[in-house]
């Protein structure tokens, strides 16, 4: 066998999904207009993939390594400061 793999596919290092970047699944890319954002954190709450980081209570730029472009953040945003655009590859 070419690869050394634990039997049964057991992964002994926690947090291994960090290495599996799901961003390339994206068809739509969220654009966040910082100037219109009211920092309500609704997008942060609803993101199913922890792709919206926050720091000191402030929303940060979308983590495009993991954002799959589902559009939930844009749908939930009360001031519509997030819009989904077709991903350019």
């Amino acid at each position: 066998m070419s690869k050394k793999l634990n039997i049964g596919g057991v992964i002994t290092e926690p947090g291994s999904t960090k290495h599996y970047k799901t961003g390339d699944w994206r068809t739509f890319r969220p654009y966040w207009d910082k100037t219109k954002c009211i920092q309500c954190m609704r997008c942060w709450q609803f993101c199913p993939d922890i792709s919206i980081p926050q720091k000191d209570g402030k929303r940060q730029d979308t983590d495009f390594d993991f954002c799959k472009g589902c559009g939930i953040c844009a749908k939930e945003c009360p001031v519509k400061c997030i819009v989904m655009n077709k991903e350019k590859k």
Binding site: M1, L5, I7, G8, G9, V10, I11, T12, P14
Partner: protein, 376 residues
């Protein structure tokens, strides 16, 4: 200690001696006496196991996977519709390399519904990556349970111990029941390679992408093939300790030294075949039997070894592959590819139909016809 005991109860005694920590179970005829007896043991305090009464066989195997993943020895039992209902999880258990031991009280599969014996149920999961050991007698069933735990835990492969429903499970016969001390000396405590432990987190059963999935299947396939040796070794060790063995652990032969015409069969039917062979031998006919004890992994090399001077093989299947040759016959034919041996296939005993001496003699008379025949 030798006593007259029902086969299902002997299996329960063997399980008790192996001390599984968890027994998830769902009752189904004709497996019930096994798990009922285990429940008795727990109730009377002679067995310290957690019995989980689940709502289906799918849950029984799921719970077994959970407890085995937690690093504990796990036993369950089922058959027929129950085995088919849990079949999704049967593949998960082997893929996760969890050495669960499961007794199968072989029973026909619906439809039409039928509660009696044939091998259709375990044959349906023959490619699931479980070791499959078929037993002929109460003593063999008792011994095989203990051996199965040892083989499974050494190879990290789950194992099915198959006993014919009713025609073996409900039979009372003498058997030597080992003591706890004896089994403790033979079967060491289970040491898992990985286990679920909050202090040392691991991920079990994750997704494998196209770049690794095939490698995991190759690992399983290699482990199954390597387990042939382990089964032989465990059978040998069992013999040295308790003075009982079943052929080499993979196949057992009967009057094969000069045999030209040979029956191939599995399970309790082998006892009937032995009787037929004895009758023929009295008349000077060179008849013998190969009993396949270990069907998965398949002991191809051993079949080749014992059939060097054989002229006719009569393969009796207690299951069918609808639309193709019967299953054991197909395996034997494949093992003997290119050999000059006449093969004939017999389907017999489906849904509990009796397989009589008369039928087996008829099978021998037709030995040169080739092809396939349904007996009875």
């Amino acid at each position: 200690m030798k006593k007259v005991i029902e086969c299902s109860h002997a299996i329960a005694e063997a399980v008790k001696l192996c001390k599984p920590a968890v027994i998830p179970m769902f009752p189904i005829t004709p497996q019930t006496h096994i798990v009922e007896r285990l429940a008795d043991f727990i109730n009377e305090g002679s067995l310290d196991s957690e019995m989980i009464h689940v709502e289906s066989e799918h849950s029984a195997m799921s719970a077994a996977i959970g407890s085995s993943a937690a690093g504990t020895r796990t036993f369950t039992a089922t058959n027929s519709q129950g085995l088919l209902l849990m079949s999704e999880m049967v593949f998960v258990a082997s893929g996760m390399r969890l050495p669960i031991v499961m007794a199968i009280a072989n029973r026909a599969v619906s439809s039409p519904i039928n509660i009696w014996c044939d091998h259709s149920d375990s044959m349906a999961v023959r490619d699931s990556g479980w070791i499959q050991l078929y037993c002929e007698s109460t003593q063999e069933a008792f011994d095989t349970i203990i051996q199965a735990f040892k083989v499974a835990e050494k190879t990290f492969l789950p194992a099915m111990v198959c006993v014919d429903g009713f025609s073996l499970t409900h039979v009372w016969e003498p058997a030597d029941i080992l003591s706890s001390k004896e089994v403790d000396k033979f079967l060491p405590k289970y040491k898992p390679m990985f286990s679920l432990d909050p202090k040392k987190p691991v991920t079990m059963g994750p997704i494998a992408f196209p770049n690794t999935y095939q490698d995991f299947k190759k690992q399983q396939h290699d482990a199954m093939k390597e387990s042939l040796k382990e089964i032989v070794d465990v059978n040998k060790e069992f013999k040295s300790k308790f003075n009982r063995s079943y052929g080499n652990g993979l196949i057992e032969t009967y009057k094969m030294d000069d045999a030209k015409i040979v029956y191939v069969c599995m399970g309790s039917l082998c006892t009937t075949v032995r009787g037929v062979i004895d009758d023929y031998r009295k008349k000077g006919k060179k008849v013998g039997m190969i009993k396949i004890k270990c069907f998965r992994p398949f002991p191809t090399e051993n079949i080749l070894d014992v059939t060097k001077d054989v002229e006719n093989l009569l393969v009796i299947d207690k299951a069918v592959s609808l639309g193709n040759e019967p299953i054991v016959f197909n395996e034997i034919k494949s093992a003997l590819y290119g050999k000059n041996i006449k093969l004939r296939s017999y389907v017999a005993g489906l849904g509990g139909r009796d397989v009589t001496h008369y039928m087996l003699r008829k099978a021998l008379e037709d030995k040169d016809k080739g092809g396939e025949e349904w007996l009875g």
